[in-house]
Symmetry: C2
Subunit: 494 residues, 2 copies
């Protein structure tokens, strides 16, 4: 779907351009790339490898659907037939303007053209274009495949309809567009970063702290607040019950204090550059660039997931795009049903290096939910005061499931009556090997009354049809068996 | 333990002082508070309520151990016998100096004295003290009970041994001290924050963005990076394979560009203050201060946990302090054993509003691990190439477990042979109600060979002693039973 977008063109394939390629491609959009640099293809492939790894960990249960990637010798070849064009070439005004001329000459007339520039205003870029209103700044943040922010700046000659359309296209790839009310040098994010960067350079220059110590102040301190609330909302809380006015009254005077060297810019001498590089080597040099990228991405994934759990801020961008039309409840009666799959992320491992035991039940529980949705017991059904609780579970662990294994679950119905459903799940790896089995007794309940209640048709009809299709032949020998073998009670082997 | 600290004194009980109270108190240290303000006790109690809620969610399985809290009418009463003193009174130099004189007059001579000041240098605070070297800045960040950073600044007359001792005391409460190499106005964090604050005020003043839009730029953008890596390490990655030198060469020139209004300070007129307050109301006014605090704290907890999973940055501060001397393996043979407890956090609930099914197995799995550690199968045992895998599990869900329920697990051994252990767990709520039972067959393995292997003494001896103590009488009727009742296979009821 993706707001009707089929094809995006990316002009410039460095780290930022490659990040744009990943944003589009991994959201099912075809991407055509042009970059004259000989190493462009390698850089794009490396960014894509990181982005795929992040995608697999962030959305283990989401079906993989990628667009087609192509590289082109010139701008015209890349932008022909594109629904959206993103420019990410080096920050030279003459170069950017010549690229925009080439894009205008070959791209469809209504394709929005976004620029990744951090340094130029849209009015500077639009000069000389036949239709300047279609060009705007769409400034992303590295890594583009994980950081949701993109700053949209239209410039004085911007076309509001084009910006609206561009926002929709970008939002459908999981980005969170923020539109500036008017153009300004360096937009918003880089102005704030620049302010901090200048102050940090003075702190290193004056030997108040090393690069490591400054980074620690940020990441053990206000960085934790800024990942979720930013500046003003954080200060609103700090102001206490009296709110923002109180905060400004209390801390306003500090604005006049000589807390900042920012009226001055440190000279980037060779000595200062060398000092920063040496401190940075001492801080981070023990890890390769690839290691640092993986650590950064894993942390970003964890932070985004934590925010998603709380339905807050950047976590809300992880919500799945609108699902394609779901099939009729219970229409598929194949035996076994395969309704759920996932991929084992590293945080599911235990100290033995395999998937930890409760994650097996998590996968089976998700498969049960998929089965219930399949027969029509979805959120709307639960909203009417009915639901299904698991009352009993029997798991057999048959293999040691490794990280990154792609799991799918085969589900059969073992039985049902007016109030109960008995399910059997098999957890299968890519090669068809059975990792574990789960047998589950579910009870239909009236959630308001808090007690078991009978199901009505059409649910009972769907269950009967599934039970007939799955048949007694599907019941495995271990169904109904308990744990036996040693100790009490002294019963016969099952 | 806590580095030998028994008692801390907190002079000043506002939001920051209350946060210090919580840091000490919830880490088992007695806290004596002095604050002449009539509402001080209420503010401290409110901060403590937030801090206890955060503690319960962050460390659900850690035993609760709080110090004793007392309020005192004067400084002398609070600091008498204190091992550490923290000052958090309003930012007026005369007031702070009179407080330090009162502290010096009554506190033990070797007690370190930390100041929460954000605006004064230690040399300004030390003037007039009999022993200036014992006073230093210990500048925390709100909320003090969750943000690990504390900036330690010793000043020119600082005493290195005192600073070392203070660092140890603070680290034992989960704080992450960063020591500045020399004093500077506003230390490090507030200088960086001040730079951003000034730039943000211009953006609001010039109508480039609203407070909400600026916050979104931060929290959807670089705030996500800064929660984990800070400024320099992030830029090192952005510099690509060429590293920090390349980044500086590439972006150094931008330092000269007019990207910042920071050479100028906006006048905080009534009009600007009113505009910020109105925008902040539009952004955050729909939520009460208490709601915003809860959201902030829940997000901080999630972010800290995500970083802990990756063993990175602020997440490393969650590691439990050194455990008190563990009992002899297997020494306790009570039936049943109670070796694990936890509290149900909100993220464990499912769409039915109860603890979701796989979390039951998580609690049982943790109880199994506690049992294994109890008999001597710990990390050292596993490091020798032996471990225990769960091969079969039977869970009976008997109640709908609610959020914040304090759960404990009663464990009995049902049987054992050379290679196997059969356990039974009961999950109990505060009132003794059984929420669920778990029966588990464990297999002892040679992890290198990847196959079952016999256990050696003293493990087998400990298991035999436990089995004898727990006895056949402990085996519940449902032990060894399977799932029965409906459908295939058509066996008799169990």
């Amino acid at each position: 779907m993706s707001q009707g977008i089929q094809k995006a063109a990316c002009i410039g394939g460095g780290v930022i351009g490659g990040g744009w390629v990943a944003r589009f491609l991994l959201n099912g959009i075809d991407v055509a790339v042009h970059d004259p640099a000989p190493e462009a293809r390698r850089v794009v492939e490396e960014v894509l490898a990181n982005a795929r790894r992040a995608r697999d960990r962030l959305f283990p249960a989401r079906p993989v659907r990628e667009g087609a990637l192509s590289f082109h010798a010139d701008v015209a070849g890349a932008v022909r037939g594109a629904d959206y064009v993103q420019e990410s070439v080096p920050e030279r005004l003459d170069l950017k303007r010549s690229v925009f001329a080439a894009i205008e000459a070959a791209a469809p007339a209504d394709a929005p053209i976004g620029s990744s520039t951090s340094g130029f205003r849209p009015s500077e870029l639009q000069a000389g274009m036949a239709r300047p209103g279609r060009l705007f700044v769409a400034h992303p943040f590295n890594p583009v495949y994980l950081i949701p922010l993109v700053e949209i700046v239209g410039g004085p000659d911007g076309d509001a309809a084009t910006l609206d359309r561009a926002e929709g296209v970008l939002r459908a790839t999981g980005l969170a567009p923020i539109r500036l009310r008017r153009e300004i040098d360096a937009h918003i994010g880089d102005r704030l970063l620049e302010a901090v960067w200048r102050e940090a350079l003075w702190l290193v220059h004056d030997d108040v702290a090393t690069t490591q110590e400054i980074d620690d102040v940020i990441r053990y301190g206000f960085g934790l607040r800024w990942a979720q609330m930013g500046l003003f909302e954080t200060y609103r809380i700090a102001g206490g019950e009296a709110g923002m006015k109180h905060f400004i009254a209390q801390f306003g005077p500090a604005l006049k204090w000589p807390w900042s060297r920012l009226t001055d810019v440190p000279e980037m001498t060779d000595a200062l550059a060398g000092k920063i590089a040496a401190q940075s080597d001492a801080q981070s040099g023990a890890r390769s660039l690839r290691e640092l990228e993986r650590i950064r991405d894993d942390n970003l994934i964890g932070i985004l997931r934590a925010l998603e759990t709380n339905d807050w801020g950047a976590g809300t961008t992880l919500r799945a795009p609108a699902a394609p039309g779901a099939p009729e409840p219970g229409a598929d009666t194949a035996a076994p049903l395969v309704l759920h799959g996932t991929r084992v992320p590293p945080e599911w491992l235990d100290y033995n290096g395999h998937m930890t035991e409760f994650r097996y039940l998590q996968v089976f529980g998700d498969a049960t939910d998929a089965f219930l949705a399949h027969i029509g017991m979805d959120a709307a059904y639960r909203a009417e005061g009915r639901s299904v609780y698991t009352v009993e579970t029997h798991i057999r662990h048959l293999a040691e499931t490794a990280v990154d294994t792609r799991l799918s679950v085969r589900t059969t119905i073992l039985g049902h009556d007016a109030k109960r459903i008995r399910l059997h799940h098999e957890m299968i790896d890519e090669a068809g090997g059975v990792q574990a089995t789960g047998e589950h007794m579910l009870l239909h309940v009236d959630t308001a009354a808090g007690r078991a209640s009978p199901m009505a048709a059409p649910l009972t009809d769907r269950l009967a049809a599934l039970a007939a299709a799955h048949g007694a032949a599907s019941a495995p020998d271990h169904a109904g068996a308990g744990i036996r073998g040693i100790g009490w009670p002294a019963r016969e082997e099952g």
